[in-house]
């Protein structure tokens, strides 16, 4: 986020008491109008990001079997609702406390924040609310990413429990380090680690948690044969997959371009262009790669390629030129292809929608790509292509930290959860479909 560049548009150095009516923050002046414009931008972008929930819902629904569709829908919808409440209660304060980005966020250190809970007191403020509104969408996205990887066998209420954990602790802590004036953001290499709109933070955490979760819950019944080879368990609706992908890209424009939190940062236009080009190049790459392999124009791979491009460009979209966005997208789509293969065939982890490969692997690649392709035209971020290796070092450190934090914390969490509450529905329920078992009806009742 632009915030992390220290240019944050919420300039509250003077006023640090909450202004819930907005009348003190807005004044009939250039400064006041600047606030309004940026509020409009931030909020409308947040709404677009919210709409990504519909995208994820479509996408995942298409990838799962008919008998488990409702369960996927429910997980994806409910984790958002629960996540919002938890983020309001705890997560936001841990993440942005001490960042000073808006009123009421004064207390916190480089490792953790401790102010801004419940949006009361000083944080009952229009600017803080705008920041919260944008941020909850990101936390919820991270949460929803996991859903796809554990679909078709995970207990519904276990899913809610880890959603609480993710939105309350896992995501905000790393988020604080990266975006809340934490130690990664302030690393003394380059300009400090940068993750513009959250390749690592949002998609990386989602994808890596998905990795641990999918591994610990085990593969779906019948996915692997005794000899270790895997079977194809296909989804039930490719229209949903394509519509889901389109809806996600639509939201992604808000996700990336909105992450300046300010349209007075005119760089937003290039961010939007980069997002589009990365998606397009990722899609076309996997279309033709798959065509070479299977002789069919595989539209699922095409969609995966588009999303992979979007994920990777999420960290670097603000710092790189359009031509680099295309390269980043191409590489992202190749990484996805390889990762899909490795995860399924070598690691034998069952990921119905490919969340680990699309979001996890490219979350990391996105972080690194900042250190490679940044051309110094925005935010002072300079990568290898303009001859500086320091930024790459910072990015590398953030990658390692991300992996270490996410794997250890989520391993511990799922380990305990498995031993106590349990992760998996009974095999009978899995075989005849989770929908009726958990929700009392199928997705298409009467069918």
């Amino acid at each position: 986020m632009c915030l992390s560049l220290g240019w944050g548009f919420f300039l509250f150095n003077q006023v640090f008491a909450g202004d819930p009516g907005g009348a003190n923050t807005y004044t009939e002046s250039i400064q006041g109008l600047k606030f309004s414009v940026n509020f409009a931008w931030t909020l409308l972008s947040a709404f677009l990001v919210f709409n990504m929930q519909a995208g994820f819902t479509f996408l995942g629904a298409g990838f799962v079997q008919k008998k488990n569709t409702l369960n996927y829908l429910s997980m994806s919808f409910v984790d958002f609702c629960v996540g919002a409440l938890v983020f309001w209660l705890i997560g936001f304060g841990l993440m942005f406390g001490g960042s000073g980005l808006a009123p009421g966020l004064s207390w916190g250190n480089r490792f953790i924040g401790y102010s801004g809970f419940l949006l009361i007191g000083d944080s009952y403020d229009v600017s803080t609310a705008a920041l919260w509104m944008f941020q909850i969408m990101f936390a919820a996205t991270s949460c929803t990413i996991v859903t796809g990887a554990v679909a078709e066998r995970f207990k519904f209420h276990a899913h809610i429990i880890y959603s609480i954990f993710l939105c309350a602790v896992l995501y905000p802590v790393f988020g604080h380090w990266m975006w809340g004036k934490g130690w990664l953001e302030l690393l003394p290499f380059g300009v400090g680690a940068r993750d513009f709109a959250g390749s690592g933070l949002v998609h990386g955490i989602g994808g890596l948690t998905a990795f641990i979760a999918a591994w610990m819950v085990g593969p779906r019944y019948g996915k692997y044969n005794p000899d270790g080879s895997s079977n194809v368990i296909h989804g039930h609706n490719l229209l949903y997959i394509v519509i889901g992908t389109l809806t996600l890209i639509f939201g992604w424009f808000g996700f990336n371009a909105g992450s300046t939190l300010a349209v007075t940062e005119l760089r937003v236009s290039i961010i939007a262009v980069n997002t589009l080009l990365a998606a397009a190049s990722g899609a076309v790459t996997l279309l033709y790669l798959s065509f070479r392999i299977t002789k069919k124009s595989d539209i699922i791979m095409t969609c995966n390629g588009a999303l992979a491009g979007c994920v990777a460009i999420t960290a670097s979209g603000a710092y790189v030129p359009p031509w680099a966005a295309i390269i980043i997208g191409i590489i992202a789509s190749l990484i996805t292809r390889i990762s899909l293969y490795l995860i399924e065939t070598k690691l034998k982890i069952d990921d119905p929608v490919g969340a680990i490969s699309v979001h996890g692997a490219n979350g990391l690649w996105g972080l690194l790509s900042v250190g490679v392709f940044s051309d110094g035209t925005y935010g002072g971020v300079k990568g290898l292509i303009v001859g500086s290796g320091w930024q790459l070092l910072a990015q590398f450190i953030s990658c390692t930290t991300l992996i270490a934090w996410c794997f250890s914390a989520s391993f511990l969490f799922f380990f305990v959860l498995k031993r106590t509450f349990g992760l998996r529905v009974p095999v009978n329920a899995e075989r005849s479909g989770i929908d009726v078992y958990e929700h009392g009806t199928g997705c298409y009742p009467g069918v």
Partner: protein, 112 residues
């Protein structure tokens, strides 16, 4: 009366129906089914991987006719539905013990 149960290719259904209509047949019941015989399936693609689908879409056509009409109908179906490659389908003939027309309560031969 006999029931003729033909399993044919979906894309052949319209032609078969048109030919039967010309012939004049009493009625038909159509069901979407899947199946395979010698045709052991085709390979489809899911997210970059090929996999075998061994049940292919077919159309099941059921026609109950007087015993004397069986041959005529069977021949027509075979003529129209044949492509010569595997997957063309099969026709089964069953004995029907009785038929009732719900509208009129008629039963037996006249009810067909």
């Amino acid at each position: 009366m006999k029931k003729i149960e033909a399993i044919i290719r979906p894309e052949k259904f319209n032609i078969v129906r048109d030919a039967l209509t010309e012939l004049g047949y009493p009625g038909m019941t159509v069901t979407e089914v899947k199946g395979h015989g010698s045709q052991k399936g085709i390979s489809e693609v899911w997210r970059g991987r090929r996999y075998r689908v061994d049940l292919l879409s077919k159309i099941k056509v059921e026609i109950t006719v007087q015993d004397t009409d069986v041959e005529k109908i069977v021949n027509t179906i075979i003529n129209e539905a044949q492509t010569g490659s595997i997957g063309d389908g099969k026709i089964f003939v069953f004995n029907v013990e009785n038929v009732y027309r719900i509208r009129t309560k008629e039963s037996g031969d006249t009810a067909v």
